[in-house]
Homo-oligomer: 257 residues x 4
Amino acid sequence: MSAPTTATVQVRPRSDARHQLVTEKWATEPAVPIDEYSDIYGNPIKRLVMPAGPLFLTYDAVVAVPDEPDPDALAAPQAPVDEIPGEILHFTLPSRYCLSDQLMSTAWELFGNTQPGGPRVQAICDWVQGNIAFKYGTSNPMTTAVDVYQGRIGVCRDFAHLAISFCRALNIPARYVFGYLPDIYVPVSPDAMDFAAWMEVWLGDRWWTFDPRNNQRRVGRVLIGRGRDALDVAMMTTFGPAAFRSMVVWADRADAS
Amino acid sequence: MSAPTTATVQVRPRSDARHQLVTEKWATEPAVPIDEYSDIYGNPIKRLVMPAGPLFLTYDAVVAVPDEPDPDALAAPQAPVDEIPGEILHFTLPSRYCLSDQLMSTAWELFGNTQPGGPRVQAICDWVQGNIAFKYGTSNPMTTAVDVYQGRIGVCRDFAHLAISFCRALNIPARYVFGYLPDIYVPVSPDAMDFAAWMEVWLGDRWWTFDPRNNQRRVGRVLIGRGRDALDVAMMTTFGPAAFRSMVVWADRADAS
Amino acid sequence: MSAPTTATVQVRPRSDARHQLVTEKWATEPAVPIDEYSDIYGNPIKRLVMPAGPLFLTYDAVVAVPDEPDPDALAAPQAPVDEIPGEILHFTLPSRYCLSDQLMSTAWELFGNTQPGGPRVQAICDWVQGNIAFKYGTSNPMTTAVDVYQGRIGVCRDFAHLAISFCRALNIPARYVFGYLPDIYVPVSPDAMDFAAWMEVWLGDRWWTFDPRNNQRRVGRVLIGRGRDALDVAMMTTFGPAAFRSMVVWADRADAS
Amino acid sequence: MSAPTTATVQVRPRSDARHQLVTEKWATEPAVPIDEYSDIYGNPIKRLVMPAGPLFLTYDAVVAVPDEPDPDALAAPQAPVDEIPGEILHFTLPSRYCLSDQLMSTAWELFGNTQPGGPRVQAICDWVQGNIAFKYGTSNPMTTAVDVYQGRIGVCRDFAHLAISFCRALNIPARYVFGYLPDIYVPVSPDAMDFAAWMEVWLGDRWWTFDPRNNQRRVGRVLIGRGRDALDVAMMTTFGPAAFRSMVVWADRADAS
């Protein structure tokens, strides 16, 4: 089939996160004009029509990140539903992969006796990291949090989906986050395109970062996209017959001089 | 359990639809203060903490609607993916109830040979209305478009979910719409709270109304909410143990003098 | 001239303020359909085409307000310019009536030695209240903050404009606010349509209320609109030849039972 | 004075304009982290704290533009005020430099007998280009459209301000636009920072480009920012004591291979 394929690409760091941009460079080979827009969640998207033949995309950025790890959320209180800002209740609803409605009774059984707020979310992350085995290639684009709960295996995307589902089942707003983590070198395959995923959870009066896969506070997250689940934040989404060859992502640490 | 229950209510007509407000009145008995906000899709939401005992909500409005039925979309062309405004691609993705990814091959088999654009969407509505039986009480809050496709039965909510899923599978942006239709008197049960649902579809350079349940262009729609699917636009969503008793909706025609 | 006149009306309380709506009622005599929209500052606007002959607008609402007066901002620190959220820098720029650029040196001379933050804004309010005489009918739609500074007389609108100009000249974001204050009965004349005006000022990490006219923390403000200055928030704006007869505003206190 | 100076910079092309980005590169010497945000008008802003000593900013982009000149607006009808989308009425109000209220009677005298819509706006551009002399260095940051009307001299910023004021006085929404024009080489001085300015005018159901300075439809505009007037869209705004040395702007034509 020879129809041109449209693709959307998410690589530019979000400007409302903790990092700051220092330099950036975008180019394609061959040169292709792009549209830029923000999606409904505020993620910066580049859209392009892929020409026939191979296409190389280059995005190179230097980003300044805080020296401190993710803030400690353990003391953060849980917000009553009537005090959560209205538009954030969106992130208490089930979504395509985060079937919090089906996991409702499971969530209450497992975590209903934990202390609300930060400790409850930490208990969720502990449980997910302790009970789900990490293995590449174990999930596919149809895999939901219910599948992950039953199969007890997945990649970071799946860890995040399950933890998010538990949070929403307990009336804690939770959203899916996708980005870069330093000191990783990842040959990205088409099946693992969401190569670094974690979640943000609304406690008290703000969002807090939790990472159900690594289950530790980390230095140097560079946040690209946020959404209900992995559907909203894919590094590349194609509409048509493009063959994806390979992608290589570096996230190197560049010490400040 | 005596914890207060928070509820969100969607009854106010959206101000960016074709209708115009003439008068309106909102009150509760007993009097309860409400928060108002717009959700992520721009829907006007009222939120309140339900007191102990019965609570009566009154919303009464006179709305002016055009004399003409829904515009005729049959000649509307299908927009190529690279020409659809970026933020609207949101409505090509699967969602909790509209599993367009699972229905992808079905959609192409059924409608891949129809003429793109208005005729293709009309073919979808014809198929849904011709193949799904309408019956109250046949679906529940876990029912997805795949269930509807397999069971061949449902309410207007389900008709809309299935048609939306087919559209998205074919790269046509489609969103779920909830509102009032004139000349109906509906004793609403808790299971049928989304008592009037249809869809909007992006063709050419604008949204068009299609109604897979009635499958005809109608006069007098009053639009309350829009979203990915029924999850986003419920007349009432409760967070807690409230018992829903009954609700009566009138949508009467008041002829202009 | 017989052309129809379009008018925009701002009477509905803003839903993101401290008050909560309990009941509301809107009607016109004769019945006229209205458009509703939010302007660029998020203010709820009703727009209507005025028919020939007299038109009566009725808006009646019960609103719940906190028992406490405006929060005390005296200890609030001044935010450095690079820490103010970017979109808020909009409110450091001069505007039609708030000529902070022309009043720059005056502002620094008068307030440059005060303590930055809450005390500096309080010093501005003290100066304005102490040096400007209040008198109805002393200003017109062309009157700027420079005119008020030179003439030393004005209404609450003018007090606000001058104080806002001083704040902006000192790099403190300030915006104009319009709304109801309890226990007032005001026969509104066409010249005094902005019958209750104050300001909000960004200190630390949030907006704070200051009232240069009354110069005291008050209970029961009901906020209708915000903007750069009085141009953005008029109770009624007409585009054409309408004759404004009279308007009566009640803001009564209705004690909770 | 040794306090650090915060600056905001507008150089990145707006992604909702007619052009498309092909490559881009941003860097500073020395390397300085930047915040990015969108202002209230959707303009992309970079904010940085200027270090002591000289700072070099580099922004280099290749942009694809349509081969066609600005669309021909001559046949575009004027929208009645009640049919203009509500949030766009913002651009019928006077602003700091565009004193459409003071120029109201002048506007009606000069253009009240022209045909509404495209011809009326064209008559405004013809008048402005024919009656205002272009000369660098003739205006300053206090110069308003009234000054330009009286002095009959100015730069492209002033041409735009006057034409915008006339449009608004006639109930035609008009906004100020700032960007690059091809085939120009401009050594920008601090006084002339808004080196390429034109306007957009709402006719029918969309915005149209008019250029009161050049008064012709041009190929290759690259749009950076939009707002009420030049205050909202400055290439650089500093908050503090920075000395601006010089800036060189190239907008070269790079023919597609």
